[in-house]
Assembly symmetry: C2
Homo-oligomer: 343 residues x 2
DNA sequence: TGTTAGCACTCTATGAGTTCGAGTGCTAAG
DNA sequence: CTTAGCACTCGAACTCATAGAGTGCTAACA
């Protein structure tokens, strides 16, 4: 159990280290506001905090730095939220000032602003497009052997794929196919699309279209190919600004992991509600053991959910980021819901 | 003027430095195949090459490294092309093995493979979409106040923008508008689209559609907003692998410049035909003064042109990259033309 | 009993002094 | 013209000494 004074010293130590990136000594601490004891007393308390595992030394006679447990205690119990500064709000709101009407664009820009504001890297995950509902399907022939399939969803998202068609295909057959598809598939989610395509439309197509096989096969294949997810990064290079990352090898691993889309589920606790903080080795990936990740979710309407994450050094400014993400999450939910539900 | 022997020594020196990243001394050179003179003779020649500005020393008693002029002479006169290894070809061709039918996807994947093969950063510039020809326009209403405009081009590229419409708009009016737009604008290049939109369709719309003003204004605006260009990167992180770049500050500047789209014209000599090499300060950007950039153009059909660039340290493996880019350029031109012109 | 002053001790960072080796330029002989 | 030889230069790596920040412990104090 920690005494009042120990809590204070722990908080001030973490705060100072977050700010300076230097080990904190007992002398420095005496100069901090709120601390009245002498350096000797502080030393005793620091030794106690260390023995309980909240602080560490880099070498025998150095000052203290927070341990993983120390950071954890700090964010769990010592974090006093501070309001988001007006100028940050102004900058964040600027996304909605311009007449940007596409979810993706809004998310992308928000990622940029967040990284600029924080000097850390931001990762924004858009809502799962597979939950979007098909609004319209069309097929546009390009050349005798090629056509492009277009799917418009209720959110205004447009998926398109080029696929090959029999060179001597009758244009009216394509038209028929589009009609059948639209008749059967509007209102279906992208998630269900593939299954429904096969179950409901295949038989119908067989009846009405002469060479449905060739056409259908490549069309289906085109829709099958997975596409890049809706992950947006801001300030990937900000990692290079942090003095904590000096080892180029480490930087590369870290950037590599973030760049490669497949690690996203390990970086972000998808599905988690509210604000999450993962410190150092609490992260699933070894490359991120020197990082902390703060995530919040946001909603569009009642169901669709995206995530916002800030990746920084363990020594990141938790207080500021937590407040900021809290604000952004609420703001984004509100604005996107408004946009999405047609005001 | 340089003697035969001086040319040989220059070539071997540059080759060695490219390979080892270490200053090259006279003793090392005597061990190289083709060199028969003693180290003393080599020293004399090195001194001569230095006085003529082809080589430099890092300090008074160090070995020599190539100067900018030295590299330039090397690539202009001493570069003997070597054939692209079979395994590189196999890997490059793999893009076309899978049934990828979209120009963008092909270019993107090629960028990835190129960077993997070379360990440098690749930048691929797709053909200018503004030259694409409108194949079909459509407008899909999403909600009472929103719609998405879709433009399909002859290359299978799909542009789409969400824009706002009057909430009580008559659906038949939208249909009318789409008809008018298609009637007038199919066959027009994206480049001309905006002008033609105003010149040819505005009057017509005014005649036939009741509330053309509100609808047209936001539609026009949506098409006006510039979109991300078709620039694809491969291996941006490869810079971190090069021992030449150890200064994090420099790395950041460099990545910053590359990341930000607006510097593309300065990085790539757009419009230039054939293979171009820019060494060190020959690059327009200060951040790239330690880099070399090798570019080739490729064609689709007769007119449309894209560029492929490899960015590496000045000490890059010019011989290998030149051959590789030469091959890729030809291959990409051939395959894309085939695809584009419908076989 | 908790707090503090004092002090010996530890460890890092810094800078000066050495040595080693790779490399050079120059000279004189072949 | 080429080459062996040699004095010289400079960076890299190592040692050593010092300064400074910080610690832990002890003993005195309130």
């Amino acid at each position: 159990m920690l005494t009042e004074r120990q809590l204070l010293i722990l908080k001030v130590t973490v705060d100072d280290y977050i700010q300076s990136a230097q080990p904190v000594g007992s002398n420095q601490l005496t100069k901090k506001p709120g601390i009245t004891s002498s350096s000797a007393t502080i030393r005793n308390e620091l030794a106690e905090l260390e023995s309980q595992g909240y602080l560490e030394k880099t070498h025998t006679s150095s000052g203290r730095i927070p341990s993983q447990k120390g950071y954890r205690y700090y964010v769990d119990h010592l974090l006093t939220p501070n309001p988001v500064p007006q100028q940050d709000i102004v900058q964040l709101r600027s996304v909605f000032e311009e007449k940007v009407t596409e979810t993706e664009e809004i998310i992308k820009r928000s990622a940029g602003i967040l990284s600029e504001l924080t000097n850390y890297t931001s990762i924004l995950l858009g809502p799962d497009i597979r939950k979007h509902i098909v609004k319209k399907l069309s097929i546009v022939p390009l050349s005798p052997g090629m056509a492009v399939a277009i799917i418009v969803t209720d959110s205004g998202h447009v998926e398109n794929r080029v696929f090959s068609i029999p060179a001597d295909m009758d244009p009216s057959d394509i038209e028929k196919m589009v009609n059948i598809l639209n008749e059967r598939l509007i209102g279906v989610s992208l998630y269900d699309l593939h299954r429904r395509l096969e179950q409901e439309t295949l038989a119908l197509l067989r009846q009405h279209i002469e060479r449905y096989g060739e056409l259908f096969r490549t069309f289906q294949q085109a829709l099958l190919l997975p596409r890049a997810d809706n992950v947006y990064y801001g300030g990937k290079l900000n990692i290079l600004k942090q003095p904590d990352f000096h080892d180029i090898q480490k930087i590369r691993e870290l950037m590599d992991v973030m760049e490669e889309g497949k690690h996203i589920p390990e970086i972000l606790p998808i599905g988690a509600q509210g604000l999450q903080i993962r410190i150092g080795s609490e992260n699933a990936l070894a490359a991120m053991e020197d990082c902390s990740v703060i995530t919040v979710s946001y909603d569009i309407g009642d169901e669709q959910v995206g995530s916002i994450a800030i990746v920084g050094p363990k020594r990141m400014d938790y207080r500021r980021i937590v407040s900021l993400l809290d604000y952004v999450s609420g703001d984004l939910s509100k604005e996107l819901t408004r946009l999405f539900q047609g005001k």
